[in-house]
Symmetry: C2
Subunit: 239 residues, 2 copies
């Protein structure tokens, strides 16, 4: 895998400023600069993050803070959730060493990393297209957050060194496009009493998003078609 | 590259206990456990190293401390110096992404990492067989120490996943064997007035070791031959 657009790094709920700084330094070592942080534990800006970033303090200063993962990835087109978990989700996975085989050139990529102690929730993993598993020994797979980011940045960078991009130019939908459709669909279903048990609504939403994002990149015209289908279905419903 | 014997990690002059701990954690993620530390700045044992190691505290507790690099690598057979420097030494280099192409199976390997702020000296790099350069962008190549170790451990581990070892079994000399010869040679030269300028002795020793370790692994029988040659040369010298 390599990407014409630069890959974005998304940290969900990072706890230690030092780790965020170390992440920024690793990003800069391998040419990335778009850092997005969802609900950091400590107040932002964070001086420990700046100190640990050393020469990459510009990435810390440009980092954007988001209230949730969904809003943090709205403009991106293909997402990996770095996780050893999510095993009870029906979601494809890839090992980091095999990233070179991914056919995702020209997409705006995001790699999502979870909390130091607890990783990503299933609801967060559901938003990704694939689970990305970093190759480690089996019995000690818990990585330092900044190490995990460093490995992925390095792997993407070294993959790109030898590659030539010759994939066709298709207009892929952004997360914003798809999320808008998903929420519209969900509202339509909700209005029509699809979710009979209120308490199961959240897990059904997770399963629905998981299904949609399990597939290969969706094009803008496909999203338009989906809206068209929903238009017709909801019109006929009112008759 | 992969190695039947486990690769050893050698840290020269590390300053922060936190970094040593993070190194241990990375080693354990990728199945390594032999950590050797040359002259750590702070007293040892170091509680900050133990805290940062998380589940890899056993590696910290088993780590060995050495007074100099030479004694730290005596039992090893092939050494890489992780460095972006050493450019004025005549020493071959390899990029980390190309490690898989190295033909060093069955050797006891060591990877040497330098100080956080200043890396390795030329005299230290001279002791390695090759310089190992971690692929990064050109204008920001200064890596966090633990990130550098993590990248190399990961690269060695992922290389080994797909490889089958079928190299012939040759008995390669250890560092101890070679160093013994080098020092014997150096003494012989010194006794015979080879080093006319006392102040140039150190840099000539660095150049000599650099030349010897620049070559592919030396076998035990080759070292024996060198001793035999030196025996004959010094005998004839006394006539």
């Amino acid at each position: 895998m390599h990407s014409e657009a630069k890959t974005s790094i998304i940290l969900v709920g990072p706890q230690m400023g030092e780790n965020i700084g170390a992440v920024a330094r690793a990003m800069k070592n391998w040419g990335l600069d778009d850092l997005r942080i969802v609900k950091p534990r400590d107040p932002w800006p964070n001086e420990k993050a700046r100190a640990m970033a050393v020469g990459a303090v510009n990435i810390i200063d440009q980092a954007r803070i988001f209230p949730d993962l969904s809003s943090a990835v709205y403009d991106l087109q293909y997402l990996y959730a770095a996780s050893a978990g999510g095993r009870n989700l029906n979601k494809p996975y890839i090992y980091s060493k095999d990233l070179a085989s991914e056919k995702i050139e020209q997409l705006k990529l995001g790699i999502i990393f979870g909390r130091e102690n607890s990783g990503l929730t299933n609801a967060e993993i559901a938003l990704a297209n694939k689970i990305l598993i970093i190759n480690t020994v089996k019995d000690f797979s818990s990585l330092n957050l900044a190490h995990a980011v460093a490995i992925i940045c390095y792997q993407i960078f070294t993959n790109s060194v030898d590659k030539v991009n010759n994939s066709p130019n298709i207009e892929v939908a952004t997360r914003k496009d798809i999320d808008f459709f998903v929420h519209r669909l969900f509202s339509c279903l909700d209005e029509r009493g699809f979710f009979q048990l209120e308490k199961k609504k959240n897990s059904m939403f997770t399963n629905l998003t998981n299904s949609i994002y399990r597939f290969a990149p969706i094009t803008k015209s496909e999203v338009n078609s989906l809206h068209g289908i929903l238009n017709i279905l909801t019109k006929s419903d009112k008759k």
